[in-house]
Symmetry: none
Amino acid sequence: MLRILIAEDNTRIARSLMEKLELFEDLKVKGWELNGSTLLNHLERNSGVEVVLMDINMPVLNGIETTREVKRLYPHIKVIMSTVFDEEHYIFEAILAGANGYLLKDERPEKLYDSIREVMDGGAPMSSSVARKALNMIRYQREHYSQPAEEYNLTRRETEILEQLATGINYNQIAENLYISSGTVRKHIENIYQKLQVHNKMEAVQLALKNRLI
Amino acid sequence: MLRILIAEDNTRIARSLMEKLELFEDLKVKGWELNGSTLLNHLERNSGVEVVLMDINMPVLNGIETTREVKRLYPHIKVIMSTVFDEEHYIFEAILAGANGYLLKDERPEKLYDSIREVMDGGAPMSSSVARKALNMIRYQREHYSQPAEEYNLTRRETEILEQLATGINYNQIAENLYISSGTVRKHIENIYQKLQVHNKMEAVQLALKNRLI
DNA sequence: AGCCTCATACGCTATTTGTCCTATATTTTA
DNA sequence: TAAAATATAGGACAAATAGCGTATGAGGCT
């Protein structure tokens, strides 16, 4: 029998969660708290809780901060974020705070149940869109630790042009910024493409960012 | 009916996979290849495959390299790694190569089926131990996610288009990759510009990267 | 049943970009 | 000092992009 605690300030959502959980006889909802602060109080009194379903957007003490505290004070308790937000920022912060899983609110009861079983088993259940974003975080972090920049021998002027190019302005504006003609800008870009072996702005800028040319 | 291709050099494991998949009547295993090279040949001849189940440890061309190629040549094909290795290194490389999911070989048929449905739906299914390691990867290299991403409400399709845009390919190629007309691509991009309040590719991509929309 | 959003598709026009070309003055370097 | 590299400038043409319009079917929500 697994003991679960819910942190959720929205009554309707909390009820919906409890209804879903009550479908499974080996789960027991030990309580429902309206914010992070009362949740922490609850945990202080009561040591039996094994899983917390945590909303992110709560008054007084939000879900991220609360998760950090729960994990600091009771590392054995599993925390599953259950929220309507699937924005990268929230996901990232929740993961850093130590959340074990991250579900969106509209999951089916079975998925919710499986997820609870999964965290108890050392896993990390995530809603599919959340998982996709998590993978993207990993993909993009790598870009910053990229390999020793290759040698492309851009001139100072070319690098300058490339930097301007990366901002999304057009040739005329670059020309104005650098007090040269747009024809010259084009010529420089032609040379840049040649050196980088690319054929358009986007490729040039992405390669430049990857290799720390700009 | 979803068409699936298996890349696996171990006969026993391949058979086991096929047995599991055959339990579901809306899945169709289109073939089984013994290494990455023959898999690529298969895909070249046959355009109907939607999902590839990819082993990591194959002779001639391994699963990571093969995934990179599959994703480069056929971005619409979903790749799920299916392997005995749950080491961080493999997971990390597979994610960078563009894998959509990462399962361990001993998953139950239902989990395998759900995972296939999940990738088709834009998700990122992972075995629980893999997901946990993925989260750890994020935890131990943070800094870049400091500022809150703004809310732009891009649809899934728009995000997909934006990702393609960032690679520097043109509208026609994006259209081919996604099996839609270039007119539709243009319309999506128009909508993206509207939502992001920008007026060209470069601005859109830079804003997207900055706000982790892609 | 009616109202949304999303994804799809097409037409038209103007602007921007990419790839050729040539040409000259200045700066760097061998 | 001579040669090479760099920075400047512009012509011509094709391709790609951006901004506008309209329209339709599918699916979700009220």
